[in-house]
Amino acid sequence: MVLKSKDLLGLRGMTAEEIEHILDTAKMMKYVITSNNKRTPHLQGKSIVTLFYENSTRTRLSFELASKYMSASSANISSSVSSVAKGETLVDTGKTIDMMGTDVIVIRHPQSGAPHLLAKHVKASVINAGDGMNEHPTQALLDMFTIREKKGTLKGLKVAIIGDIYHSRVARSNAWGLVTMGAEVALAGPATLIPPKMETTGVKVYSTIHEAIIDADVVMALRMQLERQKKALFPSIREYFRFFGLDENRLRLAKKDALIMHPGPVNRGVELSSAIADNEKSVINEQVTNGVAVRMALLYLLTRRGINEAAD
């Protein structure tokens, strides 16, 4: 099986089969990470460039290690300013990278849709490592991988996602992916931070954390950006934690064996009480390992794409 597109731009529009295929491949890759010899020849002779217009520690490191574990040549470009402020357009930057023989460009960008624009203008495969508030598909894939690993399946599970859904590319990618995989997605957050008409996408939206969490198999808390307070999106951290913070009392509403997830970095005492972050049900640290596996799988599948096509 091959991925339909040359790029991984988002989970919206991806089929369940494709997602399943990526997760299956990631499972194989996880053996590599946990083995003694973290080196495979899968990406030998391939060139991977990460192009980050936003700061990132874990996602970038995760992609870089994924490339290295599979013997790719990799390089990094980071720019704290947008392409426009820098004076070169994204398309021009992309073409330059493309012409150096790059097979995969991994891009993070503050504008939604930037990876889509890049993908249209380069021959290389483009992986979206987070675009504005649109999608962060590799994060959602690693979340789904983690859930599937623990629960055996995604189908029929209730996944509660709590917090600032509006600005969250993690929430969007998870919502699209999980709905496609047959999970029930229950969202809760301050009404000012729920995207308009979100319920038309097949998810359920609740105004209390209780309704979202009750009988949930997975509870995912999103990072709350403190500066949203200044834009009058919520009154205070104190009030946020009172109504949407995840503590032990609230967690009791979820299933006994519910998983606690967070895309990191965690604001302890804001999205999660400290006790919850360190709770045995928390899989936050395993998410990090799985992130490398998922990114290895994607790099492998996208660079193999051409080979398979030629064989067909």
Binding site: R12, S82, S83, V84, T89, L90, V91, H109, Q111, S112, G113, A114, H116, L117, D131, G132, M133, N134, E135, R169, R172, P195, P196, K197, M198, T200, T201
Partner: protein
């Protein structure tokens, strides 16, 4: 020069003519319309099977000249207008310098006289530099030749300033055209707020941002009993607010643009920046309401809001892309395809909304084929089908979301002051 147009279906919304006749024009004026004219020494245009209409008048376009000639200039813009069947266009003042002084008005009028393919009427600014702070010299603008005033592209944020602008402009009998947008509500929005903005992860512009200011303008207009014209109406509730105000007898007129009755927010799918426009493309429900507004005459005018942009301003991230789309060369075909052919409006109504009413709004002596009036004529074949190819547009800019679409309503001929500018769909 004498021109004889034979056997066309002539429609004139003003005089009520609606049937197959011959038309003769001489020295730039309409001379006669009647059954069967034979005349010697005439250039003859055979319009059999086609409609012969008073030249279309566009109440809202951007010619980008002076200041942004890399997007469009008066020459290229009027070529594009002629190709689209427009014989008169009113251009908005967001140029550089802004049309807020006599000298800029004169510059445009002079350049149009020298290089223009169609008549050009500048619209002056409401406020100096479009800054929304102080009134522009509206009297001077009017006497220099401006046909209306507008801060188009920007709303007049201050309600009291808008009130004063309406009072002041009414003294000179010049209409205020309002671009309705509550920028506080827009925040950083780049497309309509709703399902699509959620799906694309883009910040949304609520419909209420337009409606709130439409409501304000209606209240001011009714309070002052001074006319107001609402530009580019795009939402269902805006249409409803205006409909109700008209029922109360308010002196309000309004326009919409072809994209608001032809496209929904779904055109933004795939981050297509050619579909980025302000006000943004709305939902199917809004499109339906705009169509109903056109049908019941709540909406008086179909204007293009022709907004050329260079490819470098569109081949960027969606949030960073410029707002607007070119419209001259697709407006009439879209109106024919989406409104006339499905039976929503008659050709006569189309003539009202694309020729007579805009001429009335601007107070220009156009929009009719009455003998003695200027021989500005548009000939259209509403049965001819063609594929929109933006790369072939006369406009310098190609930012159209309609590329590849099959439309009816080929502009067969455009005649300005009795002189053919477009013939057999070819610009002369």
């Amino acid at each position: 020069m004498k021109l004889l147009i034979k056997n066309g279906h002539i429609i004139d919304a003003k005089t009520g003519i609606d049937g197959v006749f011959d038309l003769i024009a001489e020295d730039g004026k309409i001379v006669e319309i009647s059954g069967d004219i034979d005349a010697e020494g005439c250039e003859i245009v055979d319009a059999e099977g086609k409609y012969v209409l008073p030249g279309l008048v566009d109440a809202h376009c951007h010619l980008r000249d002076p200041g942004f000639e890399y997007k469009e200039d008066i020459e290229s813009g009027t070529r594009s207008a002629a190709k689209g069947g427009f014989t008169s266009v009113a251009c908005m003042p967001n140029t550089n310098p802004v049309i807020d002084s006599e000298s800029v008005v004169k510059y445009i009028l002079n350049k149009a006289k020298q290089e223009g393919y169609v008549n050009v009427y500048p619209i002056g600014a409401i406020t100096k530099g479009l800054k929304g702070e102080e009134l522009a010299e509206i009297g001077e603008l009017k006497f220099a030749g401006a046909v209306a005033v507008s801060d188009d592209g920007k709303p007049v944020k201050s309600s009291s300033l808008m009130k004063k602008a309406m009072q002041y402009a009414s003294m000179f009998d010049i209409t205020v055209i309002s671009h309705c947008e509550d920028t506080d509500l827009v925040e950083e929005g780049v497309m309509n707020e709703g399902c699509m903005s959620t799906a694309l992860g883009l910040k949304g512009i609520p419909a209420a941002a337009e409606e709130a200011m439409v409501a304000r303008e209606l209240l001011l207009s009714e309070y002052l009993d001074i006319p107001i014209h609402i530009a580019h109406v795009s939402t269902a509730l805006s249409v409803e607010l205006i409909r109700n105000a008209k029922k109360r007898g308010a002196r309000v007129t309004c326009e919409t643009c072809p994209h608001y009755f032809s496209l929904t927010e779904e055109a933004c799918m795939g981050y297509d920046t050619n579909a980025k426009v302000n006000p943004p493309l709305r939902t199917a429900r809004d499109v339906q309401a705009v169509i109903e507004g056109i049908a019941d005459d709540t909406i008086d005018i179909i204007a293009t809001d022709h907004a050329p942009h260079h490819i470098d301003e569109k081949r960027v991230e969606f949030s960073l892309a410029a707002n607007g789309m070119v419209g001259f060369e697709t407006a009439l075909p879209l109106a024919v395809t989406k409104l006339v052919r499905p039976g929503i409006i008659t050709m006569r109504k189309l003539v009202e909304k694309m020729s007579l009413n805009p001429a009335k709004l601007l107070g220009i002596n156009k929009g009719t084929l009455d003998p003695g009036s200027a021989a500005d004529i548009t000939i259209v074949d509403i049965d001819a089908k063609f594929t929109v190819r933006p790369e072939l547009f006369e406009s310098k800019s190609k930012n159209s979301p309609f590329g590849g679409m099959e439309l009816y309503g080929l502009v067969w001929g455009t005649i300005v002051d009795g002189r053919p500018v477009v013939s057999e769909n070819i610009l002369l």
